[in-house]
Symmetry: C2
Subunit: 79 residues, 2 copies
DNA sequence: CTGTGACTTTTAGTCCGTA
DNA sequence: GTACGGACTAAAAGTCACA
């Protein structure tokens, strides 16, 4: 049962990093905006931990993405 | 920033309840399958709490839905 | 600017029973 | 079969020092 989870978590890490890059934000800047700690962003982007729905929502808001975009297989090159 | 979260959490509650009903599962049965506690399912369906990504994945698996379907505004009538 | 380990505080998630 | 509360344990949230 952990395979889905592992895959999703890994995808989440990638998506956040990409979206953040597209916004031209540093981990620090993202952390500040999302009211999270710099190192916590680092952890998530490394696929460490198991973020809660609340954290996902915070990040989604700042990254101007939907929670789906964070968890899913989004990020098509350029529509 | 809490509005998105509140909305999503509420939607999550509804979606799980509906999907569970469609599967003909009781909260107990769902909890058992997902390896979660009976009362925790109850909490989630009442919009209480802040489930982790792992829990979302577990539930999605049992309900044969995608995590997106749980968090989003899914449940289209019949594709 | 980011990765990482160690750490403390808060909360998720469990287990009990009651209605 | 479900809502709800209290007490408890595991884990996430959040911080710091250092590479």
């Amino acid at each position: 049962m952990g395979r889905d989870y592992d895959q999703i978590r890994k995808q989440l890490a990638v998506n956040i990093r990409v979206l953040r890059g597209q916004k031209g934000l540093s981990q620090e800047a993202l952390a500040l905006s999302a009211d999270l700690d710099r190192t916590y962003i680092s952890q998530i982007e490394r696929g460490v931990g198991n973020p809660s729905l609340l954290v996902l929502c915070k990040l989604a808001t700042i990254l101007e993405a939907d929670v789906n975009d964070l968890v899913g297989v989004p990020l098509p090159p350029q529509a």
